[in-house]
């Protein structure tokens, strides 16, 4: 079969990938820089082809609760937003995690805090990988650094969410959402039938047939002894995800004396930094975490025995650098370089920062 290649924005790739994956529903609310996701879905009218439901909700709060409801019936449902809207969704995300429901969330990050700016940023790292809403929970976090990965991570995100009955999030930023690249389109898959859903998700609220116990989707448990057991179960699941689902990419790491660590659009810029540094004779490598949670701590700890220093390059004031330092545990120098509030660094700025902070 010949590959179907198209040129499109990262946001459009998310929309097309969702239809092709066989997603059952998308619920969203417009916010820059990700409105093309909802716009593309509305233009594509998937309800006429695959039967996918697309709805513009009255708010981000309503949208995430629609996702909670749809996920509660075992459907493959998703929402997308950008930073301020994702903040609004945190209550719902916590409920979804607490009820152990699978779903896909997309955050195309912009600069904050507050209403901030519509320009790209990576300042929601903490919010995404450390919780965001209330309670002890984790989101499976995928950080795409290309339009291709925007498309591919829709399927991967849904698959991981359903594998672990846990929400997954694509943590992109305004650059990845808005830039155009060619994409090898994922294949069309049929939506799950009701029979398949009932077989795969026996917990789903699909209407109680005679003879089965009622299914209740809830995160509520007033008995603290049982609530502690629930939390212990969640934590065991999170340890399993940490064990099995870490993903990262290495770029010129083999002989590296220094390492850049960057995700998403920052990693794209850092590829150029590595090339420029090597042209000057500096053995620089790039490690790109693809999953931000679970974080690739083990491989970073291994590199701490091989390289002289690491620079965490992020479009924020220094967030992922804390996880790198935890992994490195003081063995070598770990510094941070970033630009804030929607400003994007140039390769030259990154290389200059590396020399200033680590050499």
């Amino acid at each position: 079969m010949t590959e179907e290649v198209k040129l499109m924005k990262g946001n459009e790739a998310i929309a097309h990938a969702a239809i092709r994956y066989g997603a059952d529903g998308y619920f969203g609310y417009p916010i820059t820089p990700q409105s093309e996701i909802l716009e593309t879905l509305m233009a594509e009218k998937p309800w006429e082809t695959t039967g996918m439901v697309v709805l513009q909700a009255e708010s981000e709060v309503a949208a995430i609760n629609m996702v909670y409801g749809g996920a509660g019936t075992g459907k493959r449902v998703m929402t997308s937003s950008s930073s301020p809207g994702i903040s609004l969704k945190q209550e719902g995300i916590s409920y979804i995690a607490g009820a152990e429901l699978p779903c896909l969330i997309v955050n195309v990050m912009r600069g904050g805090p507050g209403l901030g700016t519509i320009q790209p940023s990576q300042a929601d790292y903490f919010q995404t990988v450390k919780g965001g809403g209330h309670g002890d929970y984790r989101l499976i976090t995928l950080a795409p650094s290309s339009v291709q990965e925007m498309a591919d991570f829709v399927g991967l995100g849904f698959d991981l969410a359903f594998k672990y009955n846990n929400p997954a999030i694509i943590l992109a930023d305004g650059i990845i959402g808005q830039m155009m690249e060619k994409v090898v389109m994922p294949p069309f898959r049929p939506r799950k039938t009701e029979e398949e859903i009932i077989a795969e998700c026996p917990w789903a609220a699909q209407g109680k047939p005679a003879g089965r116990k009622l299914n209740v989707i809830t995160s509520l448990e007033l008995d603290p002894a049982i609530m502690e057991e629930n939390n212990i179960r969640f934590q065991a699941k999170y340890r399993k995800i940490e064990e099995n689902e870490v993903r990262y990419e290495e770029f010129h790491c083999d002989d590296a004396e220094y390492l850049l660590i960057a995700f998403g659009s920052s990693a794209r810029i850092c590829q150029k930094v590595v090339e420029n540094a090597r042209a000057e004779g500096c053995k620089l490598g790039l490690l790109r975490p693809i999953t931000l949670w679970p974080f690739p701590s083990k491989i970073i700890a291994q590199y701490a025995d091989k390289v002289k220093g690491m620079l965490s390059v992020e479009l924020n004031a220094g967030q992922m650098v804390e996880d790198i330092r935890l992994a490195v545990n003081g063995k070598i120098k770990v510094e941070h370089f970033g630009r804030l509030g929607g400003i994007v660094f140039t390769p030259d700025e990154v290389l200059a920062a590396l020399k200033e902070k680590l050499f």
Binding site: D24, G25, F27, V53, L55, A57, E58, S59, V61, A62, A63, N65, M66, V67, Y68, G69, G70, G72, T73, K75, V77, E91, G92, Y95, A99, E194, A205, Q206, G207, K208, P209, A210, L214, N215, V216, I217, T218, S219, L220
Partner: protein, 254 residues
């Protein structure tokens, strides 16, 4: 007459609805929730829809509705039940979907979700229990608390200058094109219960006929929150709640 003579099916005058389970209810004596639960259980069973019904329970006294009715449930965050019901029904159009919400849940924190689900004409039933108080958290002021009515957060009575007016959200919802039935009922007498059940059945039938959003408001008592005996609470409701929230159909589109 012997007992086995008496319990013959032809002598049956009343039975516990099939869909109500054996769990002891946590509701206070005299509370309207128990009767409303019973009516929902009866209507679902009489329609033969128990295997196709998904209930959305609220945050408030009825948060544990899923402990009493033997159907599938999704327990909502405070106020968000209509958004959840929207997705459940759109993704599963052959299912019968209802929310069960109190006045704080529906008319304060969830006002946006309520109005927009109704305005879209979602094919769902919204069961609205209006007892003019927050029962679960211990008797605080609700959006529907009457003027002058004391609660723990308006201990000297609801003061319009301070707290604004009680919200007649039923009247507001009746104005929306998306609603097909908005009716205000009560369950303090046998006659009221019979009438309420009829309207509840109509609401569920509307949802399956794709007619739009049906809202059944139950003007109710909260004897614990109101600090009255159940009997006195019923009388107080008739004398004070009914004049402000008059019973009857606010809208009933055929």
């Amino acid at each position: 007459m012997e007992l086995n003579e008496i319990i013959k099916p032809e002598n049956l005058v009343y039975e516990k609805p099939r869909l109500m389970n054996e769990n002891p209810m946590h509701y206070c004596p005299g509370c309207s929730h128990g009767v409303i639960h019973k009516l929902i259980a009866e209507v679902i069973a009489e329609m033969g829809m128990e295997d196709k019904t998904i209930g959305i329970s609220p945050v408030g006294c009825a948060v544990f509705a899923y402990n009493y009715l033997d159907i599938d449930w999704i327990e909502a965050a405070h106020g968000r039940a209509p958004a959840i019901a929207t997705a459940v029904k759109r993704l599963n159009p052959s299912k019968m979907v209802f929310t069960y919400q109190g006045d704080g849940d529906l008319a304060a924190i969830g006002t946006a979700e309520t109005i927009h689900a109704a305005n879209r004409g979602e094919n769902i039933v919204i069961v609205f229990v209006n007892n003019a108080i927050y029962g679960m958290t211990g008797g605080q002021m609700a959006p529907t608390t009457l003027e002058g009515m004391p609660t723990s957060t308006c201990p000297y009575g609801r003061n319009i200058a301070l707290n604004g007016y009680p919200l007649k959200i039923g009247d507001l919802l009746a104005q929306l094109e998306g609603t097909c039935l908005v009716t205000r009922q009560s369950v303090q007498t046998a006659a009221a219960v019979r009438k309420a059940k009829k309207m509840l059945r109509k609401a569920f039938e509307n949802s399956m006929a794709g007619k739009g959003t049906s809202i059944v408001e139950f003007v109710s008592t909260c004897s614990s929150g109101w600090k009255m005996t159940p009997e006195k609470a019923n009388k107080w409701m008739e004398e004070n709640m009914f004049p402000f929230y008059p019973l009857g159909d606010l809208k009933n589109k055929e």
